[in-house]
Symmetry: C2
Subunit: 267 residues, 2 copies
């Protein structure tokens, strides 16, 4: 099973049942198949870095405990850290708030040859900002077009963009939040605000739906990942990334012929 | 065998024979032992990230083909990319040249919780800069003290610093440069300047020796890694990093008791 990019017609379903493990991915060897994909990713990334003509930007969005950190660790843990940079967008600093919302995002863009992972992103500016009325509607409502324009500019300048919404159901989130609270290696991450967001489940669903509908473009499509199962999540994300890199067909640049002649001169 | 930090007395040997595989590390299972260390590194890094009270800065220096890229891939490939950032310092840009030499280095410092890897570093400003007379001696000769002061300030503010000189012999470098030229996945990296540096082998040896002697401090020691064997290099670097993190004994912060009580409220 491959995830298809959501382009037009802009059908998007964020119903709870769409977060479940798809029937096609019930097999026991899913983990092994994902490992083959991440092995392939390791090789592709090496060539992608050498090729250096494009950057790959992977945007990860999702509710609390949807598995953004896990996807980074499990899928991109295979990458050479020299070719892969992660930016976690937290609550903006006072300086960042004095800039337009794309300023800090633009600054964090991966250069050509690199894979950049965004753990949350500029989409928070039409999600948490919208749900909590942090700016007026007349401000955030213009951002969908602004984002599309920005992302178009990026792709026209060599950045390949993949956007993943890790879709977790309300029940699964409950289990994960409780598990997180009970695990001394995880409960330090917990903050009471996570529960406020959970209380606004429907508002967030509406905001995510709009973000995905309005900003799933040919040049920067959204993928909705059923993420109630971590293994399914890792598999589907790895699969999209690998297929994208394969299509880009990165090649090792050829050396200058004059350089090749140097071999005989090394004493 | 563990590498010892070079502090005072500042004996440092960069003779070719010190680059060879040490007798203690001739065993066949070295790769397995290194893998155990990198597994341990993975766990420690997770806790180090959670702990968030310190940053770890790992400086990698060495001649061309000494194995800086390889050490990053093999040792730190085990890390979660979210907790590990790599900065490669290339020839300074015009803007960087209009700043003091520590400016771009300071900006790239890992924040608390992160492991930062420097592929080359501010030491280039007493290495390539000195050997090629890019600034007058009265300028570069003051930099050793400036570096020591800067690194002291960093360590007093929560950055733990490890500096590795990957020591490769002249013969081994020759083999690697030729191999690089013959490998179509590697020869694109080659530039003729690498050979100019090789032609100045002795001047570089003197410059490295001074950098290590003058800047191996209690707070930021240098480690000289015999790097003619990649496996030895990976093993010794991993060993120092793991022992350093173990000594720091990172702990998962405990959650606020009021947060723990929230579990029963999640519906």
């Amino acid at each position: 099973m491959h995830l298809e990019p959501l382009i037009s017609p802009k059908r998007v379903n964020l119903r709870d049942r769409d977060a479940r493990r798809p029937a096609e991915l019930r097999d026991d060897d899913l983990k092994d198949r994902t490992e083959k994909l991440t092995d392939r990713l390791r090789d592709l990334q090496r060539a992608f870095y050498a090729d250096g003509r494009r950057a790959l930007l992977v945007v990860l969005q999702g509710r609390d405990a949807a598995g953004k950190d896990g996807a980074i660790r499990k899928v991109f843990g295979a990458c050479n850290p020299q070719g892969c940079q992660v930016t976690s967008f937290k609550q903006p600093t006072p300086l960042e708030l004095r800039h337009d919302f794309l300023w800090r995002v633009h600054a964090a863009m991966p250069p050509h040859g690199m894979i950049g992972l965004f753990n949350r992103s500029h989409y928070e500016d039409v999600l948490v900002v919208r749900v909590n009325d942090l700016v007026p509607k007349r401000v955030w409502s213009k951002r969908y077009d602004q984002i599309n324009d920005f992302e178009r500019m990026l792709t026209q300048n060599g950045v390949v963009i993949l956007k993943f919404f890790l879709h977790v159901s309300r029940d699964e989130q409950r289990l994960r939040l409780i598990e997180r609270l009970e695990d001394p290696e995880k409960n330090w991450k917990f903050n009471a605000g996570d529960l406020d967001d959970r209380a606004r489940w429907k508002e967030y669903t509406a905001a995510y739906t709009d973000a995905i509908r309005k900003c799933s473009t040919k040049w920067a499509p959204w993928y909705v990942v059923p993420a109630d199962s971590n293994r399914v999540r890792d598999h589907l994300v790895a699969d999209v990334v690998v297929r994208t890199l394969e299509k880009l067909n990165p090649i090792y640049p050829s050396a200058d012929p004059s350089v090749l002649e140097l071999a005989s001169t090394i004493v």
